[in-house]
Each structure stands twice: as structure tokens, then as C-alpha cells.
């Protein structure tokens, strides 16, 4: 798992990156509602036209964002196993026509693509700040902020744990492996809990009083 890729391109500099988070969040919401609620209301030929226009808009937005297409496409493709499974089962059982099969798959790809455009052009904490301005409860936002910060910590802990185990335990197998792994998860929880306590102390030392900047 490559955790460096979390909101990876969000700090680039492009016209889209410069837009206010509010505009982008609202824009994405409108797009998703149009894609998932409005387009399906149309009749078949119009649906195809709708999807085509939608895709064209996405391409234009992407071009103004300097986020590489290859990244957006490969991340969007993560949804394929699920879509293909569902769609395929429906097709085989005769529930879906070929057109429906394609339509559903394309819709699921496009919705992910849309969301990716938001997270690749807006740093996560900017999104949080905006949600907070719109009145999202403080507790929700604070837990989310802590979650985001501790995520990197946890990933670091996991990487370290894996290295440490590899270094001293080459050939774990079978039952022993399960024991080693549950032990690791438990220890991960305990250690990251203690790490989190210490990090919280470090935050306190630097004037953290409960609100993230």
C-alpha cells in the first residue's frame, strides 16, 4: 500500500487548485447529483448523450487541473472489480441488457473520477475547514482531523513493525502466522495509542487547545 498517495496532487498549482474549496465541493456535489439522479431519468439515447457530455466536461476540468490523467484513470479503475462483478452477474442472469451493463460501469467510473478531481486539487484540511464553516459539528471535524494526522503515524508504525518482524522472523507460517499477526494488530493499537498520547502532549506543548488551524 502506497500511503504517499493520499491526496497526492492536492498541493500543485493550477487554476483549479486556486479555486475556493467551497466552489469545488459544491461543484462536485452538483455533478454527482446530475450524474446519479438526473441522467438516469432520461430515455436511453439521451442517457448516452448525457454521459458523453458529462465525460467531456470532466476532461476539460482535468486539463485545467494539471493532475495527470493516468493517475485519475488508474485510481478510478479501483472500482472495476466491484462493478464488473455486479454487472456481469446481472448480465448473465438476463437482468441487464448489454447497454445497461456498459452504462452502469461507466457511471460508477465517472462518479469516482469526479470525486478524485476534488481530492486531487484540494488539500484535505481545506475541505475540512470549509465543511466546518458550513456548520458541520465541531466534534466531527476534530475527530476527522486527528484521524488524518494519526493515519500517517499508523502507517509509519506498520511499516516499522513489518520491517522489524521481517528482520527477525523469516519463515512464519500457518497457525503461528495468525498468532504473530493478531499480536501485531494488538500491539499496533497499543503502541499507536501511546504514540498518540505523546503526540497529543507535543501538540499541547505548542498551544493546541482543541481547534485545528
Amino acid at each position: 500500500m502506497n500511503h504517499a498517495f493520499i491526496d497526492r496532487y492536492s498541493r500543485l498549482d493550477s487554476p483549479l487548485h486556486k479555486r475556493s474549496p467551497a466552489t469545488k465541493i459544491l461543484g462536485v456535489s452538483v455533478c454527482l447529483i446530475a450524474l446519479l439522479f438526473v441522467i438516469p431519468l432520461l430515455n436511453p439515447p439521451q442517457i448516452w448523450a448525457g454521459l458523453l457530455i458529462y465525460s467531456a466536461i470532466m476532461v476539460l476540468i482535468t486539463l485545467s487541473s494539471s493532475v495527470p490523467f493516468s493517475f485519475l484513470l488508474s485510481r478510478s479503475a479501483l472500482v472495476l472489480p466491484f462493478s464488473v462483478l455486479i454487472v456481469f452477474v446481472n448480465y448473465v442472469s438476463g437482468n441487464f441488457s448489454f447497454a445497461q451493463m456498459i452504462e452502469t460501469t461507466v457511471k460508477s467510473l465517472l462518479s469516482i473520477f469526479t470525486l478524485l478531481l476534488l481530492t486531487s486539487t484540494t488539500p484535505f484540511h481545506e475541505i475540512l475547514k470549509q465543511l466546518s464553516r458550513w456548520g458541520t459539528p465541531r466534534l466531527f471535524i476534530i475527530i476527522l482531523s486527528f484521524m488524518y494526522r494519526y493515519f500517517f503515524l499508523l502507517m509509519g508504525e506498520i511499516e516499522a513493525l513489518e520491517r522489524a518482524v521481517h528482520m527477525r522472523h523469516s519463515s512464519v507460517s500457518g497457525w503461528k502466522r495468525i498468532r504473530v499477526y493478531t499480536n501485531m494488530i494488538g500491539m499496533l493499537l497499543v503502541r499507536s495509542y501511546e504514540r498518540a498520547e505523546h503526540v497529543y502532549q507535543a501538540m499541547q506543548m505548542r498551544g493546541f487547545t482543541g481547534d485545528f488551524p
Binding site: 504517499a4 498551544g207 493546541f208
Partner: protein, 245 residues
């Protein structure tokens, strides 16, 4: 004027290990004090206590005001702490965000905070590291970022826990220069006894959670018997020129 005064300070960890056993001492405003003692002596615990991060017994007075759970937050505005483990201090996505974290609570606006942060980074020769993530640095580089966070705060009291660890000799020398340039009261816990001689005007020898001796660094560190009975060594520069002062 005494800036920090500690009376009957004790602390026992939740698993029953007594780390501090009734400490008493006073530090003047602007003094530079080294905290020396073998592994497990209680140095880190003492620093954590002074920062109000442990629920201790006894009394800690900062500028004559007792440190309590209530006012700890506001007293900490005047303190900085460089932890022994850099990984426990660095939690923001980028180096510059880490260095600037909390500067706003000191009343600085974003622009001023950024300037201070950048100045601090260049003081530890980490220009150009602003946008990297701290957990993707070498350990020595992480340590320097931690030192920069303290520099940027310009506090009345600064606590250093083993700051020279992992620094290369040039970085260590640079730290010594910075230390001399910094203002305020400073407490420095370390095993680097040469560093003590070069930076501090007084020292506290700690062992098993108790103060063994408080006094001038060269006198305490030069005492062969005292050193050996507490798992320490007379530093090189004192043995080569005995009684040169």
C-alpha cells in the same frame, strides 16, 4: 529571580515504577542547566513534569505561580520542549507546517508565522525542506526540524531532551552556537558530557529519581569517583588537561 522552583516533586508511572522521588531545586531566570544521569535516572520524566504533562505530586512554581492542571495550558505558551524522540513531535503533513504549528496561539498571523518558521529552518540549515514530510527524513534531519520548532517559538523556558543525538558533528556544533544565541531559561538533558561543558553554567546530577548533586559542570563532571559511582565518565576534555581552570 527564580523562574522555576520545584518542591518535593515525585512521580510514579502507572505500572508502579517510581521515576522521581522528592526533588527540590530552583533555577534562575536565564540560567542554563544540564540534567545528567545514567539511563533510567528520570531525566525525561523530570522534563515532562516541568512541562505539566505528568500528574505529579509536590509543587512546581513557574514565575512563582504554581503549575496546576488548570493553568498548564497558559503556562505552556511560554515554554518549548524538544522531545527525546523526534517522531513523537512531528505530526503535520509538511515540515514547514510542523515548524509553524501553534505559532498562531502566540499571536502571530500566518505571514509572520511563516517567516519565523522559515528563519528557524534556515538556522538549522534545512532550507529547501519546507514541503517535505517529516516522517520521510533521515533521523538527524528530523531532529533538526524539532530544534527548529523550538527556535521558532522563542519561549521563556526551553526544555531539550537529548537534542544532539543523531546530529552530525557539524550539526552539533551548529546547535551549540544556536544554544548560546537563544535567550531565556534552558534545561538540557543529555549524555553528551562535552556538550554540557560547552553550553551550561550549572548542572544537576540525577540518579534513580533523586538529585545527587547540583553545581558547576566542570566540578561535578571532573569528579572521577562521583562519575563512576553513577555510571558516567569524566569527559575527554577534562581528563586531558586536569585542573586547567
Amino acid at each position: 529571580m527564580s523562574q522555576l522552583s520545584v518542591k518535593g516533586l515525585s512521580y510514579t508511572y502507572s505500572d508502579g515504577v517510581p521515576a522521581l522521588k522528592g526533588l527540590d531545586f530552583q533555577l534562575e531566570t536565564g540560567s542554563r542547566t544540564a540534567l545528567v544521569g545514567p539511563n533510567g535516572a528520570g531525566k525525561t520524566s523530570l522534563l515532562l513534569a516541568i512541562a505539566g504533562l505528568l500528574q505529579t505530586q509536590g509543587e512546581i512554581l513557574i514565575n512563582h505561580a504554581p503549575l496546576t492542571a488548570k493553568n498548564a495550558d497558559s503556562l505552556r505558551e511560554h515554554m518549548s520542549f524538544v522531545f527525546q524522540n523526534p517522531d513523537e513531535m512531528l505530526f503535520m503533513p509538511t515540515v514547514i507546517e510542523d515548524v509553524c504549528f501553534g505559532l498562531d496561539t502566540l499571536g502571530l498571523d500566518d505571514k509572520m508565522a511563516l517567516e519565523r518558521g522559515q528563519a528557524a529552518l534556515s538556522q538549522v540549515s534545512l532550507e529547501g525542506y519546507e514541503q517535505r514530510s517529516a516522517h520521510h527524513l533521515s533521523y538527524g534531519e528530523r531532529r533538526k526540524v524539532c530544534i527548529a520548532t523550538a527556535l521558532a517559538r522563542r519561549s521563556d523556558i526551553t526544555l531539550f531532551d537529548e537534542p544532539s543525538r543523531e546530529l552530525d558533528p557539524y550539526g552539533r556544533r551548529n546547535f551549540i552556537d544556536l544554544f548560546h544565541k537563544m535567550t531565556g531559561t534552558m534545561i538540557l538533558a543529555t549524555h553528551d558530557l562535552e556538550l554540557v561543558l560547552e553550553t551550561c553554567t550549572q548542572m544537576i546530577l540525577l540518579d534513580e529519581g533523586q538529585i545527587i548533586k547540583m553545581g558547576k559542570p566542570d566540578e561535578i563532571l571532573g569528579d572521577v569517583q562521583l562519575m563512576e559511582s553513577h555510571k558516567l565518565e569524566v569527559p575527554h576534555s577534562l581528563t586531558r588537561h586536569p585542573h586547567s581552570h
